[in-house]
Symmetry: C2
DNA sequence: TATTGTTATACTCTATAACTATA
DNA sequence: TATAGTTATAGAGTATAACAATA
């Protein structure tokens, strides 16, 4: 018998994603971070002053779910909130946050490299374009 | 500002997977099925008599989590369990399960097609090989 | 009116530990 | 001793509704 699911790109996409995520989280755990923390920190580093709402829109995280995420990073002194408005907060990394992120970035780079390693060298340039295309499907 | 995360295959992999899964579940909902139900049904169809334990190993689902999954399909008369052993159960699709699965398969085919549509035709043959490679990463 | 941050809440998915009965 | 099925449970992750304060 042969597993019929491995013929379905969508299924393999899910399995590959779940496996990669699990390994990344495993390697980030010693830093006290999860993948989602690093995603937000990378985004805030690239866009200082970003608000939680806007960050949530970029990361596809609901406003309500940003609250515990930001609070957790703030409570660990990795991120700081600053009122910019009567209702908006500007997010910035603290010095400790930047230093933690540089270590996390090394972990991410390691995992990204491990992810690509089994892809034949000739196909590697196609990986990101293909994944970007899969991210943006057209329903008819 | 540019989103630094879209340069990371691992991140795009996750976003693509989550988006594809959400759309699939949305389209399966009218059939009363979720993606995981269809995955199990496809597997059991291809391997009649499979036990929940073995199915779980193929699908990467814990033994304990197979229980409510199989129970739900059984309670809807889509799948049947048969004792084969003092401790093992053989899983099979019922006639209703097969008919429901044929409708689900059409939904899956539609979603898979929508997933691949934005990929340039020349790159499409590389999609599955690349995803299979990403699924099986080598850590060093 | 629309948006931000927030609380509360519920639901799915997943992981672990422990138990029984069988092989 | 190892495996199958099961129960109970806890933790992520995610989604929705509602509210106050502000734009």
């Amino acid at each position: 018998m042969q597993d019929p699911l491995t013929q379905l790109p969508g299924y393999v996409l899910r399995r590959a994603s779940a496996a990669a995520l699990a390994r990344l989280n495993e390697r980030l755990a010693p830093l006290g971070l999860r993948h989602i923390d690093v995603a937000l920190m990378l985004l805030v580093e690239a866009t200082p002053g970003l608000t939680p709402s806007r960050a949530g829109r970029v990361l596809d995280i609901q406003r309500a779910n940003m609250v515990p995420l930001v609070a957790r990073l703030e409570s660990r002194s990795l991120m700081a909130r600053q009122r910019v408005d009567g209702r908006s907060h500007a997010l910035r990394l603290t010095a400790e946050g930047r230093s933690r992120l540089s270590r996390a970035r090394a972990v991410v780079a390691h995992c990204e490299a491990a992810l690509l390693r089994p892809v034949p060298v000739k196909l590697r340039p196609h990986v990101l374009p293909i994944l970007m295309a899969l991210w943006n499907p057209q329903d008819e």
